[in-house]
Symmetry: C2
Subunit: 176 residues, 2 copies
C-alpha cells in the first residue's frame, strides 16, 4: 500500500495483535508499555489510525458507547507489522535539554543550577522507584512468557540508576 510503516504506527499494530482497541485504549497502552522510550500523543494516534484504516491495515468495528470505535488488525496489517519487525532497529535518539542547557550554563548562578539539578534528580528517583516496584511485582512465569519485556524493564532500571548516580555525584561534588 503506501510507504512503509513508521515505528509509532507499527507499535499500534503491535498492540492490536492482542485485541481490537480504540484510539483511547491505544494511547493508554502505549503510555504504559512503551512510554518510557517511545512517546506518542493522542493526535498522532488518531492520525495514524485513520491512515492505517485507509491503507487497509486495520478495520474500524461497530461504534460502541461514547463513540468508542475499536480497530481490529487485518491480515494486511499483520503482514505490514511483520515486515517492520524484520527491519533492523535504528540507534537511539536522546534529546536532553538539561545537558544542552548545562553546556551553556557556565555563568549561571550556582543556586539556580542546583535547584534545577535537584528537581530533575527527584523526577528520576520517582521513576526508578516505579520501575523497582514493577520489577518486584513480576511473577516468575512472566519471564518464561516474555523475557525481552523484562530486559526492557531492566534497561529502565539500569538507565535510571546510572542517571541518578550522576546527579548524586554532581550535587555532592558541588555540595548540593
Amino acid at each position: 500500500m503506501p510507504r512503509p510503516l513508521n515505528a509509532t504506527a507499527a507499535s499500534l499494530l503491535g498492540f492490536l495483535h492482542d485485541q481490537p482497541m480504540s484510539g483511547w485504549d491505544l494511547v493508554r497502552t502505549a503510555e504504559e508499555r512503551i512510554g518510557d522510550f517511545w512517546s506518542l500523543t493522542r493526535s498522532q494516534v488518531y492520525r495514524e489510525l485513520a491512515a492505517m484504516a485507509e491503507a487497509g491495515f486495520i478495520e474500524a468495528g461497530e461504534t460502541g458507547p461514547r463513540d468508542r470505535r475499536p480497530y481490529a488488525l487485518t491480515d494486511a496489517g499483520r503482514e505490514a507489522f511483520a515486515e517492520w519487525l524484520a527491519q533492523d532497529p535504528g540507534r537511539e535518539t536522546i534529546r536532553y535539554p538539561l545537558l544542552l542547557w548545562m553546556s551553556f550554563a557556565s555563568q549561571l548562578p550556582e543556586e539556580r543550577l542546583h535547584r534545577i539539578l535537584r528537581e530533575h534528580r527527584a523526577e528520576h528517583a520517582t521513576r526508578l522507584a516505579g520501575y523497582e516496584a514493577a520489577q518486584a511485582s513480576i511473577l516468575p512465569e512472566a519471564f518464561e512468557a516474555d523475557p525481552y519485556g523484562l530486559a526492557v524493564l531492566d534497561f529502565g532500571l539500569t538507565y535510571e540508576r546510572a542517571v541518578l548516580d550522576w546527579f548524586n555525584r554532581l550535587l555532592e561534588a558541588r555540595a548540593g
Copy 2:
C-alpha cells in the same frame, strides 16, 4: 520579535558567542559539542539561521570563499539567548527503536536478536571509548574554565557504561 527560541536555535546562538560562524561551521560544532544529546541537521541549521537573521538575532557578514557566509551575534540575539537560558530546561526524550523492537520481538529467532544486540553493543563500546579518550585528554585548567562541560562529558561516560553493562548482562545471560 517572533515566538521564543527553540532549543536548537538557542544552541546556535550559544556557539556564536565565541565567534561568527557559517552554517557549515555550526553544523560541525554542534555535532562535536552537543551531538550526543542534541542532534540537528544541516537543513534545520540553515532554516534557523534564515529565521534568526530575519528576526535580527544574527547578521550575515561578507561572503567569503566558497560562498561562505559567516553569521555574527547581535545584541538582540544575545538577549534572546539569555532569555532562553533563563527558562528551566525540560525533561529528556528518549526514542529507542531497539527497545521498542524488543518489546515486540518475543517470537523472533534468537540468532537475529543476538546479532542485533551485538551490533548495538559494539556501537556503544566505540562511543564509550571516544568519551574515555576525551576525558583522558582533559587538562586540569579545563575544569576551572568549564566544570559543567565536564559534567556533561561525565554524563556521556555514565550513560554509555550503563548501557554497555546492560548489553553485556543480556548477552551473557542468554549465552551470546
